[in-house]
Amino acid sequence: MLKMQKINKVYQTEMVQTHALRDFSLEVNEGEFIAVTGPSGSGKTTFLNIAGMLETFTDGEYELDGVRVGGLNDNQRADLRNQKIGFIFQGFNLIPDLNLYENVEVPLRYRGIKTAERKRRIERCLEQVGLGSRAKHLPQQLSGGQQQRVAIARALAGEPRFLLADEPTGNLDSLMARQVMELLEQINRDGATIVMVTHDPELARRAPRNIQIVDGQMADFTLYQGAAEHAVAMEA
Amino acid sequence: MFEIKPIFNALCRSKVGAILLLLQIAITTAVVSNASFIIYDHVQYLNKETGFPQDELFRFTVLTFGKDRELSQQFELDEAMLRNIPGVINAVTTNAVPLSGSGSSSSFRLKPSPEESESVNAAYYFADEHALETFGVKLIEGRNFLPEDVRITNTIENAPNVAIVSKAFAEAMFPDEPALGKNFYYFGDKPLKIIGIVDTMLSPWPRSSRPPENTILVPMINPGMYQHIMVRTQAGERAAIMRQMEDVMLDAYNKRVIINIEALDQVKQDYDASDVLMMRMLIVIILVLVSVTALGIFGLTQFNISKRTKQIGTRRALGARKSDIIRYFLVENAMVCLGGLFIGSISAVLLGTQLMQWYSIPALDNSYVAVTALAVFAMTMLAVVVPAKRAANISPSIATRTV
């Protein structure tokens, strides 16, 4: 599904070069649910942005669903993003001017889907996140948890095979966080591959596979007993 | 103390905004200073002394189609009849109406041809001894025409040999000596002796590039089928007299048509209409231009401030006083504005030079640029004060809240 090999990302400023990712390699299989953890500034977000093709990488190989991303131009990346990837952000990033229905509609419009089909999908997705009755509301009329569910609905509307979530529960209280997490698990069971960045170990533990990024490099392990020690050992 | 360096650095980071502001201020300065100078030029012209009591004079034109009367006799009768109307001061037939845009001019020579000679162009009015009083111009030297000076003729052989000239003409013709009593020449070698000099008496073309002050009065009557008559009245009586003019003239003789019964101030107004139009257009443009620029600066500052709300809150939290915040924006604006004014003043002068080359506009007076620059500066500062004050009222607590 997703295959990164020896990805490097270097930010060049006038004075210094910053290696956000170093020889980063990862393979994600169809239907996986992966949690990415790591300290602040370790490169989690860079990884996610590169995975979502929001940023380019300096060198390395990245293949998404059989397509080699490295050679694509901006428009091709936008199309690929639109078709294959759903985003869920910490800050929800709903567009304040648009009501829920219209927010969910945004990626579908960019994909050029017909009105009737859009309507069917939007209603289904809003139903799925339990907000079917509030389609005409504006984002600011909702609670944080509800807003994040709309954001998830928006991510799902495009029927992406690959869901990227950046601290999806970061701005939510624990009750809401749990609800959102349950929703994500449900979506994963329905067949979508999910990569979730989080700094919450509690949440990370619920995902079947955990990755830790430290200093732009990664430690991959599946969550068994004593996994934490294993990770530390690897790092050392 | 004014934090000029950090403000400058901040400006450099939002280059485009600053450049736009600069551009606006520059163009505004260039356009407004030139436009206001052109306005000044027009106003000066409109207020120029014509020499005529315009509120007492009116003119009309007589087109005679009847052939059964001798025209010069008929006009003598008409003039006498007009002078008898209560309220009328005097009346005279003339070949041209002052300030009307239509008349005759010629070059007059200092020496008779074929000698090489200086020559001066002047508009001429043919009229008799009643012209001085009717025109209301002031005789400052010499005397008026006597009835025997006046020739009723249409041939050059019998043309008159005396003239009354305007002061400007006398000085142009005889710059170094008293002009009274001297001869000058027309039609090559026909002499005209200056018997009188009048103060200002403008030509029929007050806007002409040929000096409109150069005029002469020649005591000649050459009545035609198309004849102008000027009438001077008591100012208060003029409107009433004008209203009865057509009937009075047709009662005297009806094989003719009376047209263009017009007060002289109206004549001048019609002649000046295009100048007034230009002036009004320029005034509108200046006003709108200045308001658009002011609004633009206002809007941009407003946006800048809302973009920096958090930053301002942080500054306040770190101990900046309200006056510091206001000063920050004022200094920032002043820096952009001065840059704009610098470029604007240079382009104003360049534009002025160009305009002068292409069009008959006098050279731009630099004080106009200076005054405009000052005014634009004051206006932009004013446009910044309001949003800056609002910025100063941003609560420091905003810094601690996440938006």
């Binding site: 936008a78 639109n82 985003f87 950046d166 | 163009i27 356009v31 189609f65 658009v292 809302s306």
Partner: protein
């Protein structure tokens, strides 16, 4: 998608109404001012007879002695002498040609029923009507014979026909011009030209004359010119015959030259004519010079568009630039504040082009709206001009070209203003706005 962008643009307008209205007003005022001066300029400079302006030519002959100057750029007098006009009119070439000047009469019916009134008249040959495409309601031009015999015939405008004959067919009826009775040969329809291009001497925007009579009457009736009479030579002109024989310049002359060859040939003819005249003692000069300008060149040569108007058009466009700069600044601020939203859209699969397109559509809406309001402002401005200066009443209007130009210029202006902000916002890296809001 286009409709969707319009919807988005409208929402964006509503979100910051004050700034949006400010921008629309800036465009509107800019367009209003520009269109006001441009409309007058357009009407002044407009080709009055587009399908024929390259065929109608006004010859000029330099009759001045060597060393004499005229107030034209090339020292050629605008007008011609009677003798030259007579000779040119009697020449075999070209087929269509006419002298022309303006005079005037008291018009009456020699009865107390109609009060005499004054009308100016144009004195021409019968080709004039064909050359300048005057339309006849009744009758037609006078005959060749009438022209040759200097018969008192007149062609009147529908306005005069209305006044004297209540609009009835008056062909064959008699009217009095001064003390002579003239037979009406034809009635022309309203001649709708706003530039009096066939005689630019005394106000290019005055109305055409209402009477037309044969040029052969000039000498017979001793017709006075109601136009410019310029002399340069010392000549005693006591009688009308003196004037006809003199070097006084007071007549216009028009020829129709249909092809470049015809023009070339006519030029050669004029040269030969001048050489012939020189042999007879006129044209005392080294280099014989003539001018042969078509209608458009003639209007330019006569500076039909006033200086003031050129200055105004220039200043108006500078004003428009200020408005564009203003809008550019405001758009920049507005769009950049929206960068986070654009980041979301980019993340959700919008291409740069789509984002760019969305913003350009929004800007164009502002431009179009501003342009429409601008037309209103321009109308107000033109109304102001008409009230200030009656002479411009036919010029201070917008024709269809100007109605189309207004929104076009508005769109173009807003497009220029929006290009950079839209480009800037579409190339923002989406990632940096997504982390926190």
């Amino acid at each position: 998608m286009f409709a969707h962008y319009i919807d988005l643009g409208w929402r964006s307008f509503k979100r910051t109404p004050l700034i949006s209205i400010l921008m629309v007003l800036a465009i509107a005022v800019g367009i209003g001012i520009t269109m006001t001066s441009l409309s007058v300029y357009h009407m002044m400079a407009m080709d009055p007879i587009p399908h024929k302006s390259d065929k109608l030519h006004h010859p000029q002959l330099n009759t001045l002695d060597d060393g004499r100057n005229w107030n034209t750029p090339d020292d050629l007098p605008y007008q011609l002498t009677y003798q030259d006009v007579q000779n040119l009119a009697n020449a075999p070439v070209p087929a269509l040609k006419t002298p022309s000047f303006r005079t005037g009469f008291s018009v009456h019916m020699n009865s107390p029923d109609v009060k005499p009134f004054v009308e100016s008249a144009r004195v021409v040959n019968r080709d004039f009507f064909d050359m300048f495409e005057l339309q006849f309601i009744y009758g037609g031009p006078w005959s060749q014979t009438e022209q040759r015999d200097a018969s008192p015939v007149v062609i009147i405008s529908s306005e005069v026909n209305e006044r004297l004959f209540a609009g009835q067919n008056s062909v064959g009826k008699q009217i009095y011009l001064d003390d002579t009775s003239y037979r009406v040969s034809g009635v022309i329809a309203n001649w709708d030209i706003h530039t009096k291009y066939y005689d630019l001497n005394n106000g290019a925007f005055n109305d055409p004359e209402n009477l037309f009579i044969p040029f052969s009457l000039t000498a017979v009736k001793e017709l006075a010119s109601w136009g410019n009479n310029n002399g340069w030579k010392r000549e005693n002109i006591d009688t009308f015959q003196d004037k006809l024989n003199s070097e006084e310049l007071w007549l216009q002359f028009w020829v129709q030259l249909n092809t470049a060859e015809e023009k070339q040939e006519y030029g050669e003819f004029l040269m030969a004519y001048m050489q012939d005249q020189k042999a007879k003692g006129r044209f005392n000069r080294e280099n014989l010079e003539f001018g042969l300008r078509n209608v458009v060149e003639w209007m330019e040569y006569n500076e039909v568009v006033s200086e003031d108007n050129r200055v105004l058009v220039g200043i108006s466009f500078m004003f428009l630039i200020v408005c564009v700069a203003n809008i550019l600044g405001l758009l920049l601020a507005k769009f950049l504040r929206r960068a986070p939203e654009v980041g979301v859209r980019r993340a959700l699969g919008a291409s740069k082009r789509q984002v760019f397109y969305q913003h350009i559509v929004e800007v164009s809406m502002l431009g179009l709206l501003g342009g429409l309001i601008g037309i209103g402002i321009a109308q107000l401005g033109l109304w102001g001009i008409r009230t200030t200066y009656g002479y411009y009443s036919d010029l201070a209007t917008m024709d269809i070209t100007m109605y189309l130009a207004a929104p076009t210029i508005a769109l173009l202006a807003s497009f220029i203003a929006g290009l950079y902000p839209a480009w800037l916002v579409c190339r923002t890296t989406p990632a940096i706005y997504l982390k926190s809001q």
